[in-house]
């Protein structure tokens, strides 16, 4: 007990000996802070724009300016390989092997003529008209294995591809579609839902009109008699016997189906409106419209 008492007395003694709180040992917190008025919104700082030079002053140079160097974009006097790049047509390739695989896996029905809409409706061929895809380029990969009798309309095909299709008794036509028609062919159902009249298909542009009028390319504007002559010529060149087609053939109607140069869809004429709900087709009777849509 006495030890505790003694301890507290000692503590009090020590406290008395400690220095008092006085002006000499407290901080002078009450003095007014010296106010420095900086220039600008944040007191003259740099607004996070760096320390020196053009960056700090935020005088952004024009695009491509290289602070006095001869700029890259002016260094070469002209770039001819880009000339007219925004008009150039692209043809999205599809090989005969891929086409045969689609036929084998029942994605394409060969008892109907095949066109771009058929290919797009499979969901396996992604046409992008916004990237100037002017249709399908049927390539000759798989010419040896291809063995289906089809009536196909493509936008680009070479000699070997044409031969591979005609060897099996099929028919190929190269047809041009303008970019507005390609949007319709890409998704016909979406177009019919809009309830708009089917537009006219435009004629080929200047750069491709010769391709589509030539019978060698089976162009849709070529003379049919010249095409049948060229079919024979190609069969002799590639060394196969051209299968003859008679009217008694069960595929005759399918193989002979062609589009009009102004027609986008098989069997549907420009100016018609398709009603998917009522399952009706509306055809204009107005003379002005008939005059406009006629081929």
């Amino acid at each position: 007990m006495s030890a505790i008492k003694n301890g507290s007395i000692e503590a009090l003694k020590m406290l008395r000996a400690l220095p008092r709180v006085s002006l000499a040992n407290i901080r002078n917190t009450g003095a007014p802070k010296k106010f420095v008025r900086g220039r600008g919104q944040h007191g003259g700082d740099k607004h996070g724009a760096g320390n020196k030079g053009s960056g700090q002053r935020q005088n952004y140079m024009r695009l491509g300016f290289e602070t006095g160097n001869n700029p890259f974009y002016l260094r070469f006097p002209y770039e001819p390989y880009y000339k007219g790049h925004h008009f150039r047509k692209q043809y999205l390739p599809l090989s005969l092997l891929q086409l045969q695989k689609m036929i084998d896996t029942n994605r394409i029905d060969i008892s109907e003529p095949i066109d771009l809409a058929t290919l797009c409706n499979t969901g396996l061929y992604k046409l992008r008209p916004e990237e100037k895809h002017y249709g399908v380029h049927l390539t000759d990969e798989g010419t040896d294995i291809f063995s289906s009798k089809i009536n196909i309309e493509v936008q680009w095909a070479n000699e070997a591809t044409i031969a591979a299709i005609e060897r099996n008794g099929g028919f190929i036509t190269t047809g041009f579609f303008d970019i507005h028609s390609l949007w319709l062919l890409k998704d016909p159902e979406a177009f019919f839902r809009r309830g708009q009249p089917i537009p006219r298909r435009m004629l080929p542009s200047e750069d491709v009109i010769l391709y589509y009028s030539s019978p060698e390319n089976r162009g849709y504007l070529a003379d049919p008699e010249k095409i049948s002559y060229e079919r024979l010529v190609l069969s002799q060149k590639f060394g196969y016997e051209l299968p003859s087609l008679s009217e008694s053939d069960s595929m005759y109607d399918v193989l002979m189906e062609r589009k009009d140069p102004r027609q986008i869809f098989y069997g549907l004429e420009p100016g018609w409106i398709v009603n998917l709900v009522e399952k009706e087709i509306y055809k204009p009777k107005d003379q002005e419209l008939i005059e406009y849509y006629k081929t």
Binding site: F146, P188, L268, E280, I281
Partner: protein, 177 residues
């Protein structure tokens, strides 16, 4: 001032859209612009024929895409090299399901600018470990070197280190899967 007001009133009274145009101009008329457009009269009805002919509707219906991926039809031969699955393939210790497009689910991924090549086989059902040993043996017998293989039992997939797309496809097709 009076003359100016007269000009203004004469301008206001004249609606440019009411100008009569000949039939040839009507054809080239631009309905997208205000001046070229006709005033809309609700009483004017455009005359049209309604066709419910099923022969014509056939051309519309074949343009509508299928709602589902069709099942392949059994044929004598498939020139493209594609093969349907055999019926008795299911009874084996393992089974590889086809993709939704009826293709063999073997895929090649190339990464790191062509350095990293991985062959992935998906949808492996049943004994995946037996499948991996069989596949490894099948490939190594042909290529005569060791093949790295990774088995993902939970994901039902196998990843091969390297480009063995053809061998893996052939292995699966030979088993009738």
């Amino acid at each position: 001032m009076i003359s100016f007001r007269r000009t203004l009133s004469s301008l206001c009274s004249k609606d440019k859209r009411l100008w009569d145009v000949s039939s040839s101009e009507k054809i080239g008329r631009q309905y997208s612009s205000f001046i070229g457009s006709k005033l809309y009269n609700p009483d004017d009805k455009v005359d049209f024929d309604v066709s419910k002919d099923p022969k014509e509707w056939k051309y519309v219906s074949r343009l509508l895409p299928a709602k589902f991926i069709p099942d392949p039809v059994v044929k004598d031969n498939f020139p493209s090299g594609w093969k349907p699955q055999s019926v008795d393939a299911v009874s084996g210790p393992y089974y590889v399901r086809r993709s939704r497009n009826h293709m063999v689910p073997v895929y090649l991924t190339i990464g790191q600018r062509g350095i990293k090549k991985r062959t992935t086989i998906r949808h492996i059902l049943g004994d995946i470990w037996l499948f991996s040993t069989d596949l490894k043996k099948y490939i190594e017998d042909q290529v005569k070197h060791d093949v790295g293989i990774k088995v993902d039992e939970v994901g039902c997939r196998i990843v091969l280190r390297g480009d063995y797309l053809h061998y893996a496809q052939q292995f699966i097709l030979e088993k009738g899967m």
